[in-house]
């Protein structure tokens, strides 16, 4: 049976693509922290990325492929799973399955839709054209990403969407990270509980890192 049709093969694709995207999430977070250095930090970072356009585009292409694989197989496996369990119990009690684990398809969908919104807002910059970085340059003539971010997160609607999406991401990672190690068989009796806990911890750290930016801006600690 071909690898991409087999039960385990498809799960390995899910695990590997998921991990790569999780690593991107970490790298992205690290990039975002440049906002704490003020307009100079993040605007310089954004400008640097623009200079490296071919690399960035190659990277984006890879991410698009990973994303597509993850979504495609995620949906396919979920549909198969639902088919395999057509009837539920009158009373159902979970013994070890977590909310995070059972809601993967939903948190995944939320992240997917959020991603589109996020790209429209900050990359293509069509949702709030009045504050788009492309149209508003900073003092040295670079697109003013800093102000775009700050002005966006001062709007409660946008801040709310971001925090909500990050909750979904955290839940997705809580189940996803330990799942990666299990699916690739990178655990044993000793490391199994450690991996599960570390996965959750990593998800929480990523969550806190991400929501720090909208929160700090929303509360008014970081101002334009």
């Amino acid at each position: 049976m071909p690898f991409l049709k087999s039960m385990v093969g498809r799960k390995i694709v899910m695990a590997v693509s998921g991990l790569m995207m999780a690593l991107f999430v970490v790298a992205h977070l690290l990039g975002n922290t440049s906002i704490f250095a003020g307009p100079n930090g993040i605007n310089a970072y954004a400008a640097k990325l623009h200079e490296l356009a071919p690399v960035v585009w190659a990277y984006r292409l890879v991410m698009i492929i990973l994303f597509a694989l993850h979504v495609y197989y995620g949906i396919q496996l979920t549909l198969e799973n639902q088919k395999a369990k057509p009837q539920v119990y009158a009373v159902k009690s979970s013994l070890s399955a977590t909310f995070a684990g059972k809601s993967m398809i939903w948190t995944g969908s939320i992240i997917g839709f959020f991603l589109i919104y996020h790209l429209l807002q900050f990359t293509i910059q069509v949702t709030n054209p009045e504050i788009s970085a492309g149209r508003n340059l900073d003092a040295v003539g670079r697109p003013d990403v800093f102000h775009m971010v700050v002005l966006s997160f001062q709007k409660s609607f946008i801040a709310f969407i971001y925090v909500g999406a990050m909750i979904a991401l955290a839940l997705h990672l809580t189940h996803g990270i330990q799942s990666f190690f299990q699916t690739l068989g990178l655990n044993n009796d000793r490391t199994f509980p450690v991996i599960t806990k570390s996965g959750t911890l990593a998800a929480v750290i990523i969550f806190l890192g991400y929501i720090a930016i909208p929160l700090i801006i929303f509360i008014g600690i970081l101002k334009g």
């Binding site: 049976m1 690898f3 087999s6 039960m7 385990v8 093969g9 498809r10 799960k11 390995i12 496996l77 198969e80 799973n81 088919k83 395999a84 369990k85 057509p86 009837q87 539920v88 119990y89 009158a90 009373v91 159902k92 009690s93 979970s94 013994l95 070890s96 399955a97 977590t98 684990g101 059972k102 993967m104 189940h175 330990q178 799942s179 190690f181 299990q182 699916t183 690739l184 068989g185 990178l186 655990n187 044993n188 009796d189 199994f192």
Partner: protein, 259 residues
């Protein structure tokens, strides 16, 4: 003690089923769960009604025949215990119990609480064996096996094939059952020879039987009456990846000597 039961009744595979209410009266805490059902059944028979059909045989927790979901938990609330070994002292006066059959697409209901688990047999049949003929084998001590490996193989081999893992899995996946067999044989030098083919054909068989995919929820481990660990699923996954590096085109050979 007295209990109220809601038991799944279904005449046959294609008939609709429903939960029916029964009262279990004067139940002794020393009784096993199945003995409690025996009492209910005797009353039903005497009252001219059809007794509840359920699978059971050894009643000592090893044959794997008994298969009931009690209040949403396969084999009921006590950890690492089959229904037949579950005793009524774990329940109390007035408890309401929902008793249902294993539920999964691959396990069609035959009658009441009895399901058809032959899909598990077909998974084993696909490759859950070492292709050795009777006779002509080396002395039992000719191949040494590290104690730790033998113990791990035994941990996996304790599976009683009851199907609780599938009943518990939100995805109806048979991964723990299959992983236990793959891991048991892969841990032993005798089983290594065919390890690569085995893991491929057995995972393929699972898919064909209509079992779901493993979602790493570990409900299976929590429900397993023998405490088979999900680390064996990780082992199966490793074996699967290892197998990808080999030519697994050849299936396990199982032709008879002659004919």
């Amino acid at each position: 003690m007295n209990l109220t039961l809601y038991v799944w009744r279904q005449k046959g595979p294609d008939e609709p089923g429903r939960l029916e209410q029964y009262e279990a009266k004067d139940i002794s805490p020393e009784m096993s769960f199945l003995e409690m059902l025996d009492v209910v059944n005797e009353d039903l028979i005497k009252g001219g009604k059809e007794p509840i059909a359920f699978d059971h045989d050894c009643r000592e927790g090893i044959c794997g025949m008994c298969s009931q979901v009690i209040n949403g938990i396969p084999h009921g609330p006590q950890e690492k215990t089959t229904v037949c070994q579950l005793h009524m002292r774990h329940f109390k006066e007035g408890d309401i119990l929902y008793i249902e059959p294993w539920r999964a697409r691959a396990f069609p209901v035959i009658k009441d609480l009895i399901v058809d688990r032959s899909a598990l047999e077909r998974i084993i049949r696909s490759g859950g064996y070492i292709s050795v003929h009777t006779g002509g084998v080396p002395d039992a001590n000719a191949i040494l096996i590290p104690k730790a490996d033998a113990e791990t193989a035994m941990d996996a081999s304790e599976c009683i094939g009851c199907g609780a893992c599938i009943a518990a899995c939100p995805n109806g996946s048979a991964m723990l059952f299959t992983a236990a067999k793959v891991a048991h044989l892969a841990m032993l030098p005798q089983g290594r020879v065919e390890a690569a083919q085995r893991v491929c054909v057995m995972t393929e068989a699972m898919l064909k039987e209509g079992f779901g995919n493993c979602g790493n929820h570990y409900e299976c481990q929590a429900a397993c009456p023998k405490g088979i660990k999900v680390q064996f699923i990780a082992k199966l996954n490793r074996e699967f990846m290892k197998a990808q590096t080999k030519d697994t085109g050849r299936r396990l050979v199982s032709e008879p000597f002659s004919g």
